[in-house]
Amino acid sequence: MAKTIVVTSGKGGVGKTTSTAALGAALAQRGEKVAVVDFDVGLRNLDLVMGAERRVVYDLINVVQGDAKLSQALIRDKRCETLFLLPASQTRDKDNLTAEGVEKVMEELRKDFDWIVCDSPAGIERGATLAMRHADIAVVVTNPEVSSVRDSDRIIGLLDSKTAKAENGERIEKHLLLTRYDASRADRGDMLKVDDVLEILSIPLLGIIPESLDVLRASNLGTPVTMSDNNSAPALAYTNAARRLAGEDVPMSIPGEKRGLLGKFFGRRAA
């Protein structure tokens, strides 16, 4: 049974693409078949972060418009054979994405894959609403600062009203992925604390990704951070988040906080 995930945030630059690549790679490394789909038509980046920018022949728009078959557009990852990328078009306009076309592509992907991870563009316009439209699960990427939190709140509202699930009277599963978290800055009050964000957004926590140079380095190398160095703090955090998505019970830890405090957060299981 395929599961469709949308990685979304409202605000730009919070780490949607990085998180899509990292979660997709981590799920694929479990041996499950994963497609990561870039919905950011005109500003595509997922191909760069996945290191596949020189292998793009056909893209999502070609498939939506029927110019190419899905199998022609999917790019198999060179490092992990169960990981595939469906790139966005960089030259076409996002108005070429039609609701019917996207629905057809998503249905076809569901037949072939265990996980479909959709990278949503920033904003709340057409691209973002189409990316979330067919999702079963939403991963809401949020930075610990007020504007990102408010935009995420707005997106959660849309997830509850504009998705196919919501329109059928079901509720879409929503998870919070807190990225670029710096415990020492949160302690000084320069950043919102984990509990502050959770209180405002009131959705279950999927993971906390620490602010780290490893993330930037991996992006520039074209490697999902979960593939570059499995032992770096962000890679571990993403891998654990992926395990929680897959239904495993992994205790939550706040990166950079002292061990003694961890016990407090064991009770907060990601639902």
């Binding site: 408010r150 935009d151 709140d153 707005r154 959660i156 509202g157």
Partner: protein, 276 residues
Amino acid sequence: MTVPVTNLTEPDERMSENSTDKRPIRLKGRSFLAIQLSPELPFDNWLARLDDLARRSTGFFLGRPIVLDVEGLDITQEELKDLIGELGERSVRIMGIEGARPSILGLGMPPAMKGGRPAADIDPDAEAPKPAAAQAGSSAESGAAAAAAVAEKSRPEAQPVHLAETGQLPSLVVDRPVRSGQSIIFPEGDVTVVGSVSSGAEIVAGGSIHVYGALRGRALAGSVGNSNARIFCSKLEAELVAIDGLYKMPDDLDRQLVGQAVTIWLDGETIRADRL
């Protein structure tokens, strides 16, 4: 359908020096429940059915605000004029026309209306016998008073409200958080939110607003002119609170109340707040 509400208090900053009265001019929106009539072609047949309805519930349309919805009807200005005439003969008075092309609206016709929101369906058979409500209004415009029952102001506190008289009191319960950008508009009565109201969200209620959670967005109670409406919340962090068109910004509120469980009410022309 419901006519949208705009409650504005306009502080007049350009008031000249020799003016003695410094009271602000209050521009108040009011929301009335209008009945929407959607005629169907051919009009003869539709008018016959309307007559039939009128026979069953005598005086149903009398004095009620009616909005004519002609969306999607391919008719000329003449035909529309005739229809309004036919309705006039049946004592159906049109306050506005919705969904009409500007070209078919001529002089002497009711104005074009837009932005109406759907409200609950009205059952004429259940509505027809309304002696109690009409007498309570006891004014010449008793029919309109029934539709604007919520707007009835300054009812003496001692007088008990008879539920049997007013029928079911409308209220809305929202059992999930109200997110940024969402707006809950319920001119018919009270709104209760079980959860928080986020920054950038908005609750507009004809009656009182109850928030069992943090109120971080805007809350506008008594929006149809109900000065007895109140706002209750378990944690006050609001961006704006308003009752009956008078509003307060967070900076005007007592700092000590922020973050507390608070009730907010209107005392004459002043918004007051206190811990619960």
